[in-house]
Amino acid sequence: MKNEITLQTRREFLRRTVLGSALSWTVPAFLADTFSALHAEAAGSAIQTVTGKDSTILVVLQMAGGNDGINTVVPYANDYYHQARPKLGLKAADVLKLNDEIGLHGALTGFKGLYDAGQLSVVQGVGYPNPNRSHFRSTEIWQTASDADRVEKNGWLGRYFDNACPGADPAVGVTIGSQLPEAFFAEKPKGVCFNNPQNYRFIANGDATAEYKKLNELETSGPGLASDANSPDMQNSGGSIGMLPAGMPMTGGRAIDFISRTAFDAQHSSDEIRGIAARVQNQAEYPNSPLAGSLKLVAKLIGGGLPTRVYYVSQGGYDTHTNQLATQQRLLQDLGDSMKAFVEDMKAQGNMQRVLVMTFSEFGRRVAENANGGTDHGAAAPMFIVGDKVQAGLLGKYPGLAPQDLFQGDVKFNVDFRSVYAGVLEDWLKTKSAPILGKQFAPLRVV
């Protein structure tokens, strides 16, 4: 079976089937899957066809700026803690106790509820060897899952897309934000990004949009194409008719062909996303914040059946060199409440069992407070994982805070973040982690 095809336009391709006969517009849904599988086989990589309704979904939540883990997961009974933080130290009465030694920041009522319901993992002491305290560099390390002394070009999620989702919809990864995170950088770039669904489209006045579609042969209304996205066949495949495997090799193909395909993908995913955003309603009370706005959108897209495997959202402001008490109060309240609402929304949709949320931050902060009511860049910190089937409770070990336990004033990690990624990749996304992370990290069991 030929697995390398040159093509002029998507429409011409649709007219020439694999089976060689003239084609009506309704290509059976299985054919799209067959193509993905064929191509994947040809490419020799692990097959993971995006299938929509039943696949698991990962939501990555970046806490940008370097969140102070020590005042988030608080060792409220620890003397070293209070000695190091006379002003910033939280007392027993300020925290939501998880046990005799550890409590969550008082503002994380949303998380406490999830913890009590067995839906929250707190992974303690997560970091990596030779910690880097530069926002730019450490974020890059978390995004690319590289060792601290190497520079990797592609992101861990990008490598996941390359390795495990060869036949996937371009919206296999969705970022709510203004640009794709480095985590999504891939050999065969995938993933769409928008702040507002209305921005993710060809923006024009008057009849220019119709003209644009005509000029580029992008009609996506018509039998067998995007408007059939809700037909029974389409529901099952989760893929889109005519959605060619994005990794299709371009033998003899010109750059223009690749760009035409991309334009088609853009139009299709744009229509789909805007349709879903307009149609699907949120079923929970969210706070009024940018983070909540992002999660509301993610909830809609999940509810609307977008065949996305990984969503990426971000909450900024955690770089608390000054005024930490007030800032963390505000941010963590937002985080906990937004997460609580998102989980309620997913439950109401009947989709919560498919969803796993993972937070990360580029580093924690120093044990000792600084002279400006804040803390400076540190190293290890906790990660949070939310889901129906998580290994609930406290995982890892709370790092020692005694001076002899520190390294250059920072807490030492006991869980390498790549182990957490490995656990998510293997247990949740059901793919081998070693090809994606560059080597085998002992996975932390996450579910």
């Binding site: 530069s134 730019f136 560099r137 890059e140 520079v151 990797e152 070009k153 371009p170 203004s178 640009q179 794709l180 480095e182 950088f185 770039p189 995938k190 993933g191 769409v192 990004c193 928008f194 702040n195 507002n196 921005n199 993710y200 489209r201 060809f202 923006i203 024009a204 006045n205 008057g206 220019a208 003209e211 644009y212 005509k214 000029l215 580029n216 371009m250 010109r254 750059a255 223009i256 690749f258 760009i259 035409s260 991309t262 334009a263 993908d265 853009a266 995913s269 744009s270 940018p290 000054t322 600084n370 002279a371 400006n372």
Partner: protein, 493 residues
């Protein structure tokens, strides 16, 4: 291989191709001027650009500031926490302002400067040596490196390596400034071999360690903001690099690097890929390398060979290279004869499209080619085209800036909302005769924007669009231009 294009093959279309690749494209008048010079004349005109005067001034802050450096050092040493914090804030504000200005300054040079190939080569070197302001921080250092890439753009490979290696930006970027004989830092030694000159597999780990030893001594005087050689941290012992032994220093090491046969192959392949849009076959690469070596690793004669060769004008190459974001922006304002948007807006555009000048994503630079095109960047190009043509603010950039809420950005954004930032003047690009007839409007625009014909049904669609307007206005023609820029054809050069 590399025989010259036959003179009967040289025409307007080939001249357009040369100008697009060796520069950033141009108006029909620009192309015609080049076409009239003939192949050799055109190539010489572009490559021997020293003959063209370039009086463009540098930014006024583009020089060392020893007093400011001294003040900074003092405060960090003896200031109160409050003083330090304030100075840090001021410094960061100044740095942001200057780097934005520097980006605008460079784009202006690319769009309106008299030496297109020099700027196109400076852009190549910037991607090649991929140094980022995110780590280097000092905009003066970034300007200084850019200046080296411009002055040495088409000089000698060894001399360029030496200047770029001993330059403050690079000394900071790859940690050479911290290297000393007791503990040599291998970062620069490794990257110069792996990424700048030879490629993986053409050196050993031992070569790296020994090279790092040889390079010790290359250091940075932060107060004078310049390179300084520190003999006391230089490892004076014998080293063995590439099987040769001697008391090598950094200069010797660079000499050894360039003498490797692989060096000529590596850099000529990269240059061929940059200008042609495709990787050379092993055969072609050998031919390119041989030419480069025969010219003592000097770029000018090599570029002339390349730009004259029939391979460069083959159908697989012409109009088959995806425009980089910078090429897209600069080429568009040149072809549309319009102004570049303000620096802050340009920054938003190039960043959204994936090419943030002075901030490449990592040491490996930008991959280019089809990787510039994703569903997002493609839609962004199509939407930004509307802004360029109509003179409005790109919607994504506006949202992006507003979201940041950063003082300067927000104020600038508010101010800009009320300005018409450029936009196309139809009188400049359509003659009165062309303006009269819908057919000639489309043909004229086609020629200007694509230097070739569109597909027949595309032409017909555009024709029909204009014909459907009962009272065709300038706005309708601008829309047609925007539509033409919103095609796959417009994304290639």
């Amino acid at each position: 291989m590399l025989k010259s294009l036959a003179s009967d093959q040289w025409n307007y279309s080939m001249a357009a191709h040369l100008l697009n690749r060796a520069g950033f494209g141009g108006t029909p008048a620009d192309v015609k001027k080049l076409a009239d010079l003939g192949l050799d004349g055109a190539v010489d005109y572009l490559v021997d650009y020293d003959k063209v005067p370039d009086p463009t001034p540098d930014p006024d802050w583009a020089k060392p500031e020893p007093d400011r450096m001294k003040h900074l050092a003092e405060v960090y040493r003896t200031g109160t926490p409050e003083e330090k914090r304030q100075l840090q804030q001021e410094t960061q504000r100044l740095e942001r302002q200057r780097i934005t200005e520097l980006r605008g300054w460079w784009l202006q040079r690319m769009a309106y400067g008299p030496r297109p190939l020099q700027e196109k080569m400076a852009l190549f070197w910037h991607g090649h040596f991929a140094t980022s302001v995110e780590k280097v921080r000092d905009p003066y250092y970034m300007w200084r490196q850019n200046d080296i890439f411009r002055r040495q753009a088409t000089g000698n490979w060894m001399l360029l390596l030496l200047e770029a290696g001993k330059d403050p930006a690079m000394l900071v970027w790859l940690d050479q400034a911290q290297s000393r004989k007791e503990h040599p830092n291998e970062n620069f030694a490794r990257e110069v071999m792996e990424i700048f000159t030879l490629g993986e597999g053409h050196y050993t780990e031992h070569d790296i360690t020994e090279a790092a030893r040889a390079l010790t001594g290359w250091s940075l005087d932060r107060q004078q903001q310049s390179y300084i050689y520190r003999p006391f941290i230089h490892d004076n012992g014998e080293k063995t690099i590439f099987g040769q032994t001697g008391n090598f220093d950094g200069d010797d090491f660079i000499g050894l690097l360039v003498a490797q046969p692989q060096a000529a192959r590596f850099i000529t392949a990269k240059l061929w890929n940059y200008f042609s849009g495709s990787e050379p076959s092993p055969e072609l690469n050998e031919a390119l390398a041989a030419d480069f070596r025969a010219n003592n690793h000097n770029f000018k004669p090599f570029l002339k060979t390349m730009f004259r060769s029939r391979e460069f004008y083959s159908p697989e190459i012409v109009r088959n290279q995806v425009k980089s974001p910078v090429q897209w922006l600069v080429g568009s304002v040149r072809m549309l004869e319009t102004e570049l948007p303000p620096p802050l807006v340009c920054w938003g555009v190039t960043r959204q499209l994936g090419q943030d000048l002075f901030a490449p994503p990592n040491v490996k630079g930008w991959d280019g080619g089809v990787t510039w095109i994703t569903t997002n960047t493609l839609l962004t190009r199509y939407n930004d085209a509307q802004s360029l043509v109509e003179g409005t603010l790109p919607p994504l950039t506006a949202g992006d800036m507003a979201g940041k809420g950063a003082g300067n950005g927000q104020r600038a954004l508010n101010a800009m909302q009320h300005l018409r930032v450029g936009g196309v003047s139809l009188e400049k690009i359509l003659s009165p005769e062309d303006r009269d007839d819908n057919r000639s409007i489309i043909a004229s625009l086609e020629n200007r924007l694509f230097q070739t014909d569109l597909k027949k049904d595309q032409q017909e669609d555009l024709q029909a669009f204009l014909d459907s307007k009962t009272k065709m206005s300038d706005a309708d023609i601008l829309t047609a231009i925007r539509l033409m820029m919103s095609t796959p054809e417009y994304q290639v050069t």
